[in-house]
Amino acid sequence: MSAATAWRNVLSETGDIARFTGRFFREFFRPRYEFAEFLKQCFSIGYQSLPLVALTAFIMGLVITIQSRPTLVEFGAEAWLPKMVSVSLVREIAPVISALICAGKIGSSIGAELGSMKVTEQIDAMEVSGTNPFKFLVVTRVLATTLMIPVLGILADAVSLYGGYIGANIRGVVSWDLYWSQCFDALKYGDVIPAVTKTFFFGFAIGIIGCYKGYNTQKGTEGVGISANSAVVVSSLLVFMIDLIAVQIADLFGLT
């Protein structure tokens, strides 16, 4: 495939995703509202992803603390460890890592589920049964990821800080109270609010890409695998791009 064709495909797909997103907003404001399905998706996306996100966040907190310690010791700034760890975890590492984990788990799951529904005509069957499949399948899932990924991100903040506490006590001794008071002293609203805000966009991107890929699956069962895979790749890439934009905007408002 030539570079020109590849670019044309990328631009064409970007246009299709933009149209798909536009349709999401149109359908979102129109009744009927699929509240029961939305709650079901919140449970599936939020609650069932919780152990994986928590475990990953704990490990990240632990590892960051252990790896940061020698450098701080070298500068005689070991006491700054909780502050440094809390700022880096809450501002960047926990939200991005939890979003990437969700892009892998939730993005692929949505892509594969909707893809297999598409190739086995379940989406058509839904339409014949008097249901708007876009509203029932896409709107509910995108809303659920948009709301649940920030919740998972906040949980990841807390668990990763706990991991940091364990890490800080492997080589040194930091009391529970001192660790947490130093963590919270270091954090400002300017650290927390942009970090939480960007997770809403991460969640939206993961949901919309997973749904777009699944809903537009072609080529039978082979296409289901392709959809699941590309949902993960594109949504992970979007997480980084959104993060980059979020940092620039935060910087613009003096929040960095």
Binding site: D124, V128, S129, G130
Partner: protein, 270 residues
Amino acid sequence: MPTCLDLHDMLAETEIIQEKSGTSGTDSSESVIHLGKLNKSFGDNHVLRDFDFDLYAGENVVVLGKSGSGKSVLIKCIIGLMKPDSGTLTVFGKDIPELPHQELDQIRMRVGFLFQSNALYDSMTVRENLEFPLRRHGLHTTKEQVDELVLEALTNVGLAETVDMMPSELSGGMRKRIALARTLILKPEIILYDEPTTGLDPITGKEISNLMNMVQKKYNASSVIITHDMTTVRIIADRIIMLIDGTCYADGTYDELRKSDDKKVKQFFE
């Protein structure tokens, strides 16, 4: 090339012993589905070309044609899942392509669709699969009514015991029956079958065909059946339409078409 009409007229004069009771057409002259000069294409691929067709109340019409000839596209246009490019398409006198969504849903309550792949919702039990169209169309809101209808539909297909099973726990034939039960739960006046016996062994295929016949009698429904399975055709067809090159190439009863000398028609019966 014989047209629908001349082949039908030519053979209609021949004395034929019908495999299935009754001849082409029905005692009712009411057309429940009317397609006039229907066209549908995908890029350069003209799937339907000026396709004309009428389904009369109470009859079973089989649409025969090679794979990729546009048979599934035809019934998907009828149910409103695809839009034709041009031509007339009415179901119960309503212009389907121009119908607003709510009115289309009203028509869909009266038209059942059995999908080729069954299209059972994997994440739902058999009961939930059957309840889905009832609840979505806002019918029978009490639990007792819903339970009664689910049980009735499952009993009709002989699978009442599977009510709490998942589709993945069922065999291919059972899944087909459950899909048929889901189609029947709204007591449709027209049933569209998309290759109902594909992927089934000959015995199960015959059972499904007999079941479809039974359903047609019990519900007095009209049916359009897409199939390649000549056993099914023999069992169920009141009338056969041959879809070749996007047009209605031949139209007649099983025996009329079986005796045809036309090469394209004969190849289906060899």
